[in-house]
Amino acid sequence: MTDVALLALLVPLPAGLLVWFTPDRHAGRVATLAFAVGIAGGLALTLPVLAGQSLRALDGLVVLDALGAFILIVTLAVSAIAIAGSPAYLRHERSLRPGDAARYWALLLWFVGGLTLVPLFDNLGLVWVAIEATTIVSALLVGFARTPAAIEAAWKYLILGSVGIGFALLGTLLAYASSVELLGETSDALAWTRLASVAAHLDPGLVRLAFLFALVGYGTKAGLAPFHTWLPDAHSQAPSPVSAILSGATLAISLYALARFHLVAVGALGPAFSSTLLVLFGLLSLAVALPFIVAQGDLKRLLAYSSIEHIGLGALALGFGGPVALGGLLLHLLAHGLTKASLFLSAGGLVESGRSRRMARLTGSLETAPLDGRAFLGGTLLLSGLPPSAMFVSEIAILFGGFSVGWGVAAAVAGLLLALTVAGFLFHASRVSFGPARKGPGPTSAPWRAAGLSIPLFAVALLGVWTPDPLTGAIARVVSVLGGGGG
């Protein structure tokens, strides 16, 4: 049963090859089918793990614990939203040539397939291989539109992404060197389950260096300041569904990889070293995002800087530790993924119907593009953490959790920065939603797209007032993984 589910989850990878050679008009259907099989397999794998079972397959190469399963669920949910929004993007993108649609779907399959591999591997080396592979595929997607600006963004993303992720590889190699004497020259020396269990006996100097390089590497991939400079360009120039995945899913995946290193570092060095670094870079990201959000003029860059703000909050929560902040972090990753994915699609719709990214030219969107306008307004309210958003709950939990474990000053500074950012964000959102209407009616929308835009927003609002018991149990299990232990 496990093997079947695992095979189903991997279907998107070979299916991508098939889709590459499929005629444009059928590519979307074949790809969606492959995604559906993958999502079904993913659910069959993750739900039992989140309910408390453990999963070990392929001779220990694949190990899924509650943390991995939770991240996998977030990735699959965000991908489903992006897929629902993809046909509309392809219909409205004007720079496409024959064959481009098939290539888009194939790359999207590989992107999502690569991301879903990451939480499965019990091997830091393979985690790196999978993340680097998604970087390469997504660089091709970022420059998909072939406009000069898209090429510029993709070039920056490719170069900075490869260098960043190169440092993550060095971190991985150092982790291997720190454990190879204890665990022998086998893949055990890179298995995070084994590393975490022997962490106390690892060489502290090597672990310290390994965590530093991993922080720079996966921090670059996640968009932590000051390694974030590629992010606003890539997120704003990529096709909107790709931006949705970049922001909602890769952010969670990179934080996941960082969390694995953090657990090893805590075991080897005690919590002070890596936690302090995570809190510092988290605060720096919040501080860097603030002025760019307040003074922003470009709609998609506004969302991109908001991603930097939220990854900063994520790093902060991971650094705080403690059950309250970590529980908040998990809820936040889920809610941010869903909301941001929907927002990128609705913002993409507004940009396409308004033929501009400038917010000053997109005003009055509630009137000009009823579906996208409403989804955009709803999404921004939820993203700002106004009740009943789940992000209200998660942000309160993170800050309060920080206070309760002795990070009072950091939590207070973070709270202030968050409040200022929210004010700036809402100012822009209200201008776009309620300002004078500029253009005629926007594009007509397919029912799939309407579902992709609205269901995640309703889910986030619902999660803010009522957390179902299975989710509470799952979050408790993930928190126990993150609190040490490793399983």
């Binding site: 091997n123 080396g125 393979l126 790196w128 291989v129 680097e132 592979a133 390469i136 660089a139 091709l140 420059g143 072939r146 000069p148 600006a149 090429i151 510029e152 963004a153 993709a154 070039w155 920056k156 490719l158 170069i159 490869s162 260098v163 190169g166 440092f167 590889l169 060095l170 190699l173 150092l174 291997y176 060197a177 190879v180 004497e181 020259e185 086998t186 893949s187 890179l190 060489d203 100097g205 090597l206 260096l209 606003p232 360009d233 704003s236 120039q237 760019f292 003074a295 922003q296 003029g297 470009d298 860059r301």
Partner: protein
């Protein structure tokens, strides 16, 4: 010659070529220098693999030799002919400053790794500082140059350092991890080449000065 002295020799060569690359302004000459650097790294892997009977190292080394020392230089050379620029004319850092920075990088890398207790079986006591020096030199090249081709060359230098680190720290790494890493490193350059070609077509040049529209 023992295995360790072979690795040491190649590591020293890689560092030296990195310093020479930092002061070279002709892009054509840089391409051959970086090819020589890649060849050194690959032959270290092959030599160690043959003498210790680690066949996956030999496979990886041969693949790296074919791709990084032969195929990439030819492709880069062909792109160089297609574009009008052949000299890195106004880099952000001139040759003298570059020389100082490159030598500083070598000493800093040695100092940063001097107190690490590396396992004796891994044999990376001198190769690791060399690897980190090469990575940082690559990074410096990418930060101080303006032409897209120079950036790709910097990325290659960075990767040569990374491969040396991979191999110095871990010559018993599981095959699947090693091949995965090698595959990824090879594909990055291919995608870089795809985008450099698109830049040539859209902007008509390979200077990253054109890439200034995205701000704020």
């Amino acid at each position: 010659m023992t295995v360790t002295s072979l690795v040491d020799l190649c590591a020293a060569g890689i560092v030296l070529l990195g310093v020479v690359l930092a002061v070279t302004r002709s892009i054509g000459r840089s391409i051959w220098l970086v090819a020589a650097q890649s060849a050194l790294g690959a032959s270290a892997a092959i030599g160690v693999g043959v003498s210790l009977g680690l066949w996956h190292l030999v496979v990886g080394g041969v693949l790296a030799l074919a791709a990084k020392a032969i195929v990439y230089p030819l492709v880069l050379r062909q792109m160089l002919r297609a574009s009008s620029v052949s000299v890195e004319r106004h880099p952000y850092a001139g040759p003298r400053l570059s020389l100082v920075v490159a030598i500083g990088i070598v000493f800093a890398s040695g100092a940063a790794t001097s107190d690490l207790a590396l396992a004796a079986s891994v044999g990376g006591t001198r190769a690791l500082p060399a690897a980190i020096a090469a990575m940082l030199t690559g990074l410096f090249l990418m930060m101080s140059r303006r032409k897209a081709l120079s950036l790709l060359i910097g990325l290659l230098v960075f990767e040569n350092g990374l491969s040396l680190a991979a191999f110095a720290l871990t010559y018993g790494m599981p095959l699947v991890v090693e091949l995965g890493i090698l595959f990824d490193l090879l594909i990055v350059i291919v995608v870089g080449w795809v985008y450099a070609r698109r830049m040539l077509r859209v902007f008509g040049s390979l200077s990253t000065d054109e890439l200034r529209s995205l701000r704020g």
